[in-house]
Symmetry: C2
Subunit: 427 residues, 2 copies
């Protein structure tokens, strides 16, 4: 029976039982973390071969070996072999790819910084008064942090099962102060939604009032499937081309969740014009990124096929973790009418919507019993979830047994918080 | 006899002989590069062991090994062992060090960017009208490029044998629009000058009209001696402390010319207040830099002593190259009164001053005969050497035999350009 049909007495009894259970958990002194989309130790291990992919022997003999120079300065936009792999992965020409350092977040931050100081094609954003960004919610807290850092006003747009609510987006872009939008098009953080072809089409054909409107296309989970048959997605640039809108999107990706989160390779894909603008800034910013690490990745993976095979290893570790959490949700929370959750086909998160007005309480209850969740509200601009209901679950980091303990506690806290909330009516 | 005492006839004869010699060079079809401070292949080889310093075996067994986590996200300001090495090198407390990616230029660019957008302690520099930077000349072209990119007006100050002309600097800082200064305090690029204790003292005690004045202390050649007894230098922060001016300097360094130029580790040292400000930006910019590469450096060098030993290897390769160039200058140009040059005790450059008004001509003559020099003027803001006389010589990249050919040609071109110039008087 759904909780909302419980009378006061039944709720009191339920609460008393849940509190007992909760205290039992508390006494276990758990110390578990489901807060960040961090690969676990088991996942890190599958990429250890990367550490042996290049050695001094690669430079032993052949002075004509062109890779010799990868140790030196130069090659600002990255080594060609690595560019080619990213070009195939992103389905864009090699000339439209720049391969950089270890962090795509850094590349996005730098790009927004460039827009603020020197513009994305028109005047510097900073000289255009208060500017705004469209932020699909729930979304990625680090995107919101960049906007907040630069005082870019964030306007939330709901995520649907097909991607951002495009009716709302199409309305918002009529405002010339709206300069851009953050998107995680595939296995969105945290909902796991992959934008539908229709959503991408509507996005690509947009004619925003601001000519310098830019979509930050954060393709962080481009090949991060949790099942054999993951979601498929066209290259956004192929769709943009139909409308001559290639300049509107800057795409970012990285191997952070393919090789090592701390020591991967990040890349940008963009139109000729945008690549030129970005390179003109980069050429002042640095002499070049770490080409040896790019080369290391090329030698380890060889090609896109090598990467796809490698992703199977990650999947074999991740899929059971996601399944364990979703099963527990089904078993513990199913039919109670107090929560809904996603069952994503890829990415790193499960998005859990608890009873309105209880997400913070669930976070606190879990924290006090030793389980760290992503801070409630983090998936919304300014850290404020207007309905106080969304919690981002990151199942990747803990081993399965710990994950199960944490999920059991989480379910209990979801119930307890809902019960408390419902009892308020009778006060 | 000095050229200036030659009469017209003697100059004509000289020119005719020099042109013959020059044409002989030209016919050789040389293709040599003395333009950038790039280590040569021989120098790269001495760091090849870095590529074997960490392998998958480091992660084989011990789950309690704290380095395990270096593969994952986290540790924004760098791994502790690496911070400790830089702290000792820079003679500052570990808490005042941030260890980052592969490029100190990138760190300087990012810091100036931060100052432009959010300020260095007061208002954003970009909101303060036209701001200015003091640039000791001749200096480093990539510093100037950052100023130019952001429209920061550059004011040249002459380098003396003790460092920047401090009388001029002390005058300039009375202008509140003067917000900062670029310095390469040790083995300055390109003069090789190490700032004298007196210069550092006068700099540390400055009270600029702009409270948000910042010195970019680019300590790129901190241990890059060319002789057993290199220049010694105190930590600038120890001197600043005497005046309570620790916030005025941000120090940068890297292993670009210690390990690999393309794949080293860069670091920042700064006051508590500045570190906090920089970290507050970095925490939005990235989740962390490449900790595995930091760890690779720690394992390869172990400690400062290991680095100092390693620098001997570089020295053994570099010193003969510098000696070859300086000897050639002495032999070919000595006593002619048409050029002066430095004989640095460290760093990567020889600064050659040719006859006024002939640097560009020397550059062209060399270029047309197949030797690439740093563009004449590059060592001055906006690429304009007002006396058209300075040429930065980078002896590190070519092998010694090629270097000698290039230097012979260079000397010839210096003579030819001077001869042409002197003949103008008779026209």
């Amino acid at each position: 029976m759904e909780y909302k049909y419980y009378d006061q007495e039944k709720l009191y009894l339920l609460k008393s039982n849940l509190v007992k259970e909760y205290n039992k958990f508390k006494s276990q002194g758990l110390k578990l973390d489901m807060s960040r989309g961090k690969p676990g130790a088991d996942q890190l291990a599958v990429s250890n071969g990367l550490l042996d992919a290049i050695t001094s022997r690669d430079w032993d003999d052949d002075a004509s070996n062109h890779s010799l120079e990868y140790r030196n300065y130069g090659l600002l936009t990255g080594i060609i072999e690595c560019k080619e792999i990213f070009a195939k992965l992103l389905k864009v020409p090699t000339k439209n790819v720049i391969v950089c350092g270890n962090s795509s977040l850094n590349l996005m931050f730098d790009y927004i910084t460039q827009c603020m100081l020197t513009g994305s094609g028109a005047a510097a954003w900073r000289d255009q008064g208060e500017i705004k960004f469209i932020c699909p919610v729930p979304g990625y807290d680090r995107h919101f942090a960049i906007c907040e850092y630069y005082g870019i006003k964030m306007i939330s747009v709901d995520m649907t099962e097909k991607g951002p609510d495009m009716d709302a987006v199409e309305e918002l872009i009529k405002d010339p102060k709206v300069k851009g939008m953050f998107c995680v098009p595939k296995y969105s953080n945290p909902t796991g939604v992959t934008y539908s072809p229709d959503t991408v089409e509507r996005m690509a054909k947009m004619c925003p009032a601001a000519e310098d409107f830019r979509i930050i296309w954060d393709n962080a989970y481009i090949i991060h499937d949790l099942s054999e048959h993951g979601d498929k997605m066209e290259s956004v640039f192929d769709v943009l081309k139909k409308y001559g809108h290639e300049d509107m999107v800057i795409e970012f990706t990285s191997t952070s969740k393919i090789s090592f989160p701390g020591a991967g390779v990040a890349a940008i894909a963009a139109s000729d014009k945008n690549i030129d603008m970005i390179v003109s800034r980069m050429s002042v910013q640095t002499i070049g990124y770490d080409k040896l690490n790019q080369f290391r990745h090329v030698k380890f993976y060889r090609d896109v096929k090598g990467i796809m095979n490698h992703m199977r290893l990650h999947r074999s570790i991740l899929a059971p973790k996601f399944k364990a959490v979703v099963n527990e949700f089904n078993n513990q929370l199913g039919g109670l009418g107090i929560a809904t959750w996603t069952n994503p086909k890829g990415g790193y998160f499960i998005s859990l919507d608890v009873m309105e007005g209880t997400a913070k309480r669930v976070y606190e209850l879990c924290r006090d019993a030793g389980v760290t969740l992503t801070t409630a509200g983090a998936t919304f601009p300014y850290g404020v979830d207007p309905k106080d209901r969304n919690i981002r679950i990151a199942p990747s980091y803990p081993p399965v047994d710990e994950l199960l303990s944490a999920t059991k506690l989480l379910c209990l806290c979801v119930k307890l918080a809902a019960c408390e909330k419902l009892l308020e009516k009778f006060e």
